[in-house]
């Protein structure tokens, strides 16, 4: 009975740590932006009642956008990966039909109004070369036994059409030298001949033309067979009209689109962008190359950043002034989508590359000018800012006089209305200054399209963007083939005399760096090249004299370089230990690097080497966040003794995955001291497979994987303890340290769902308890207190106070879904960063949608509640003050009377 009561009390005490959100708080601290991804196919519906755009994207999304604003009206997400890749869209009056999938093609009809699924059918087609729709029939073109065969299906029902047409295909020269446009297949053969044959009717007629070309492409949108043939950078436009092949020369470096206007007239629309900030359009009649003045324009805008635009779909109409007007949906190489009005301007544009974020960094804003002046004036040494000013008596006096003069001047200026606000001078946006609680920051994101964005974290507004055009390519993760972009914040906003600086590592023939000033997105003397191939980049623990955190770069022959190279350091760094991991061959090497204060002549020495056996692959390396602090050194047990945490700052977790004959795949977690190369602990998870996520924080680790045997997601939780005594009480050293392994507590939990990403919260001083943020495939963002994943959750009697009894399944209460009803689909990652408030952690979730919020794992104990009653406090203090004054008077009067008695 007593134990039950204790359990009930304990459970109810944990109910309070669950953070719900009040209805009126929704959207106050968070924002969400919906995206669709890079557009693959589109169609414009200009029906007056609907006025919509339909798009199918590389992210396997089918969506409808409003033509006037570009807002998403509905969005449907298909299967992930090649199973859901959209191959074709076909708009009809009431439905938008998509064909998706590779080996099994799935045909689906979506309602144009609300995106509801009307019908779905599927068929197997292993060797499909092309798919096209003609006359309400889906044509599936495939190649077998020297014949080109075409199967037809009724588009809405999936009923197979009459018979399979076959064509002799001796002229079919492979799908890379052929193109299909409007039901006609055109192939370049080796003898320099272009053959065009129609695949719609079962005739064997084909048209031929002598033409040499390297490449053939179909022109999108065209209702007649039209192709672009490229031969040594000379482009020619080939089209078929009334059974004749016609050739027209084309201006190269521009993308073409053919639009049929009034049944028999074809317009050729062309678009190009000779410079990043200009967009040139041209319109002409296809047959006679007559230029249509009203469709030709040139526009340049400094805020534009466009590379390789391409018309995805268009619509033309006759205006009142009897000229032709067109709207075109334009997609660019950097994956932005815009609606272009010809003649005229860009109506809206969407940055769809934000669906492919590969790296995120939160950058603090600099302090305002006034605050900077105050900091300088008083020369406060304990301030978090670095103001680099001398503290001599005379110089301080001069500085003070000077700054007061300046303050007086700004005061006069403000009064007279010369300058509107004194902080205007910091940047283009006056509100981009550091706030008191450090909640306002800039999110710097790198996208795989090569575009870098600076986003305001409070409202999600894009402040700046940089297009890395022709600078270099991204590194590639050799295990999963995804691009990766190492970014280092080399100088933060604390240094008043210098602006913050971000460095992005890119690959080209020579490795390249791109500096960006993250506040305004400028990249002055932007790109640096180094003449070696970088395999590892590690920031130094000390700054150089220009307050830049230098990087140590290891080249492919494992010799170290300092970057920036020619600047001496502010102090001599301690001996550094750096490790390099090769994920594919399983080699791990540790080096010690001696960096002299001059920053020249670095020397490295290999000190340890570990070799995983083939075919083991290193799939993840989890290190603790460099900003993380561990506040509490131990845990108090029920017998009042302390269990000390094993906190090794050099420990990294390495996950390896190896195929196995009996267990399918074996996932091993190794805890490695990256300085000494000592394997602290290893544990084997059998039959574990992707998706695998790893979290390493403080003295614990979480590893989530899919268990093939039990067919569910499991989370293994590990916690490391030193025991009852602190082993390295004075100073921690990995080199020559003790061989006594730490105590490892382990436990596993079942997660009723599938994880897309997992990340712990982080706060400035580590006092606040830790929560784990988990993004599930159902679109929820769960905030799970770490106490639920604690491996010391007792099965029997509780070992310490506040421990929740062990339950194998993790709870997923709806109160802990911090994104409430805003589902987050296809999450790629979660980024957490501390604010200056100890209680609050900033969270940014990226993937198909962007979501930003802030969480307070231990509730906001350091700020007053929003509904705090200031009036009552003011009244109470005033009453107290007045009554104190009155009673004092009364008391003195009484004392006087007493004295007279």
């Amino acid at each position: 009975m007593v134990s039950k009561l204790i359990y009930a009390a304990l459970l109810s005490s944990f109910l309070f740590t669950v953070n719900g959100l009040y209805e009126d708080q929704a959207g106050k601290f968070d924002w969400k932006q919906d995206y669709v991804g890079e557009v693959k196919f589109s169609s414009i519906d200009v029906d007056v009642t609907t006025k919509r755009l339909y798009v199918a994207t590389e992210k396997n999304v089918v969506a409808s956008l409003a033509i006037d604003t570009g807002d998403i009206i509905w969005r449907q997400i298909l299967e992930k990966g090649p199973e859901g890749s959209v191959e074709l869209i076909h708009p009809t009056k009431s439905k938008i039909i998509t064909v998706s999938g590779v080996d099994v093609i799935k045909v689906r009809g979506w309602d144009v109004k609300d995106g509801y699924l009307h019908f779905e059918w599927s068929t197997e087609s292993s060797y499909a070369l092309y798919l096209f729709v003609f006359n309400g029939l889906l044509h599936n073109v495939y190649y077998s036994n020297n014949l080109i065969a075409v199967d037809t299906y009724h588009l809405e029902t999936g009923v197979k059409g009459k018979a399979t047409y076959t064509f002799p295909a001796h002229w079919f020269s492979g799908s890379d030298r052929c193109a299909l446009s409007s039901g006609s297949l055109a192939c370049l053969d080796v003898d320099g001949k272009l053959n065009i044959g129609s695949l719609i009717k079962s005739n064997t007629d084909r048209l031929g033309l002598d033409m040499i070309g390297d490449k053939i492409e179909a022109i999108p949108g065209s209702p007649i067979p039209a192709f672009i043939v490229t031969n040594k950078n000379v482009e020619k436009l080939v089209y078929v009209k009334e059974n004749k092949i016609l050739v027209r020369s084309s201006t190269s470096r521009s993308s073409s689109f053919i639009y049929t206007y009034m049944a028999d007239r074809q317009y050729l629309l062309q678009i190009s962008s000779p410079m990043q900030d200009t967009i040139v359009t041209e319109g002409s009649i296809l047959e006679d190359s007559t230029v249509i003045e009203s469709l030709s324009s040139k526009e340049s805008k400094s805020s534009l950043k466009i590379s390789n635009p391409r018309i995805s779909s268009a619509f033309c109409g006759r205006s009142k002034a009897n000229t032709v007007n067109c709207v075109a949906l334009v997609s660019t190489q950097d994956q932005s989508l815009m609606l272009l009005k010809m003649p005229g301007s860009i109506k809206w544009h969407r940055e769809e590359s934000l669906t492919n974020i590969i790296n995120v960094e939160f950058v603090d804003l600099p302090v305002s000018d006034i605050e900077a002046a105050i900091e300088k004036e008083f020369g406060n040494k304990e301030s978090f800012l670095d103001h680099s000013v001398s503290t001599g008596a005379f110089s301080m006096f001069v500085r003070r006089l000077f700054s007061q003069l300046q303050q007086l001047r700004t005061l006069f200026a403000t009064v007279l209305g010369i300058i509107e606000s004194p902080s205007e001078t910091t940047g283009t946006k006056s509100n981009l200054v550091r706030d008191q609680f450090g909640l306002h920051k800039i999110i710097v994101t790198v996208t795989s399209a090569g575009k870098i964005f600076g986003i305001d974290n409070l409202n999600g507004e894009i402040l700046w963007s940089v297009l890395l055009c022709g600078v270099g390519t991204f590194y590639e993760n050799r295990v999963n083939g995804l691009p990766s972009a190492p970014m280092h914040l080399q100088r933060n906003s604390k240094h008043l005399s210098y602006s913050p600086m971000c460095t992005l590592l890119l690959k080209s023939e020579k490795i390249q760096f791109v500096y960006i000033y993250p506040i305004n997105g400028e990249s002055k003397n932007g790109v640096t090249q180094v003449p070696y191939r970088v395999v590892q980049a590690v920031p130094l623990p000390v700054l150089n004299i220009e307050m830049v955190r230098s990087l140590i770069l290891f080249d492919s022959s494992n010799s170290p370089h300092l970057y920036p190279a020619d600047t001496p350091l502010s102090s001599k760094p301690p001996p550094l230990y750096i490790y390099i991991a090769n994920p594919t061959n399983g080699l791990l090497q540790g080096f010690t690097v001696n960096v002299p204060i001059s920053g020249k002549e670095l020397s490295a020495k290999e000190v340890w080497k570990t070799q995983f056996n083939k075919p083991t692959q290193i799939i993840a390396i989890g290190s603790r966040d460099a900003m993380e602090h561990v506040h509490s050194q131990g845990r108090v047990l029920s017998d009042r003794s302390v269990l000390y945490k094993y906190i090794n700052p050099n420990m990294v977790a390495i996950l390896t995955l190896a195929p196995d004959t009996t267990h399918k795949s074996v996932l091993t977690l190794h805890l490695l001291d990256a300085v000494s190369g000592i394997i602290i602990y290893s544990v084997v998870h059998k039959r574990a497979s992707h998706p695998i996520h790893l979290v390493h924080s403080e003295n614990w680790l979480l590893c989530s994987y899919y268990n093939d045997k039990t067919r569910r997601t499991e989370i293994a939780s590990y916690e490391l303890y030193d025991g009852n005594q602190l082993s390295n009480s004075s100073d921690f050293s990995s080199v020559g340290g003790s061989l006594i392994p730490p105590i490892v507590e382990k436990q596993a939990y079942i997660l009723p769902g599938f994880l897309q990403a997992m990340k712990p919260t982080i706060t400035e001083k580590g006092i606040t308890s830790k929560h784990i943020l988990m993004a599930t495939t159902t679109g929820h963002l769960l905030e799970v207190p770490w106490a639920f994943l604690d491996p010391r959750r007792p099965l029997g009697e509780p070992k310490e106070e506040g421990a929740i009894p062990y339950i194998p399944e993790l709870p997923m209460p709806s109160e802990s879904m911090i994104n409430y009803n805003k589902s987050l689909m296809r999450v790629d990652g979660i980024y957490t960063t501390p604010s200056s408030l100890e209680s609050t952690c900033l969270v940014f979730v990226y993937g198909l949608d962007l979501f930003y919020t802030r969480v307070a794992p231990s509730k906001t104990f350091d700020v007053l509640k929003e509904d705090f009653d200031y009036l009552v406090i003011i009244i109470v203090t005033h009453i107290l003050l007045i009554s104190a004054y009155v009673t004092k008077n009364l008391a003195s009067q009484k004392a006087l009377k007493q004295a007279w008695k």
Partner: protein, 218 residues
């Protein structure tokens, strides 16, 4: 028919054993080389024969010559690192090279007693070697009186992962349920019967309180 099945089963079991035997490639010996002059290259220290079947830790002693002892002392006095290159050979002749290190003064300070830990993966093949010493003494390197390296070789295999403990949890739930049912059967009096001693004084108190001020009721 039955016989065929049995033979087939037997064969498959045999082939299974055979398979695991061929993939099982045991470690035969560990070859050690150390570096006594910084960046001057490695020289042979010893070779230790290892038998994984016996599942015991191996202790081996080798003598090194006096000049090497002097070099080791110099290394220790300069507070340099002592690097050890370890080559693990298997019965089939496959070699894997590892590198490990510690501070030279610790080697001298522990009177040439060192511990090598061989980390084996789930298939018993090595992936890492760690060097440690028996003491953390880094001061008394002048009192070295031995020229025998005493090496203890440990083997460490990975632990197996935790699994969600559903069985114990269900048992616990069942136990609790049983206890509840037992409690109910022995104590199935009504609430009034159980708590009359608290309720009665409360009722009396309220009656007295009600009777003492009859005006309030009107």
């Amino acid at each position: 028919m039955m016989h065929y099945k049995l033979i087939f089963l037997f064969c498959s079991v045999l082939s299974g054993i055979y398979c695991s035997d061929t993939s099982y490639d045991s470690i035969s010996d560990v070859y050690l080389e150390h570096e006594l002059i910084p960046n001057a290259g490695f020289t042979k220290r010893s070779s230790i024969l290892v038998n994984l079947e016996s599942r015991n830790d191996v202790v081996s002693t080798t003598t090194i010559n006096d000049s090497d002892i002097q070099l080791l002392k110099q290394l220790a006095s300069k507070n340099e690192l002592y690097r050890l290159k370890v080559t693990v050979r298997t019965l089939s002749g496959k070699e894997t090279r590892f590198l490990t290190f510690t501070r030279a003064c610790l080697i001298v300070g522990s009177k040439l007693n060192d511990i090598l830990t061989l980390h084996l993966d789930h298939l018993d093949s090595p992936f890492a070697v760690n060097l440690a010493t028996t003491s953390n003494n880094c001061n008394s390197f002048n009192e070295l009186d031995t020229s025998n390296f005493t090496t203890t070789v440990f083997f460490r295999r990975p632990e197996s992962s935790p699994v969600p403990d559903t069985a114990t949890y269900i048992q616990k739930m069942e136990r609790e349920r049983d206890a509840r049912e037992k409690g109910k059967s022995s104590n199935n009096k009504s609430m009034l019967g159980k708590y009359w001693m608290y309720i009665l004084p409360l009722v009396i108190f309220m009656m007295i309180a009600g009777a003492s001020n009859p005006e309030a009721r009107q």
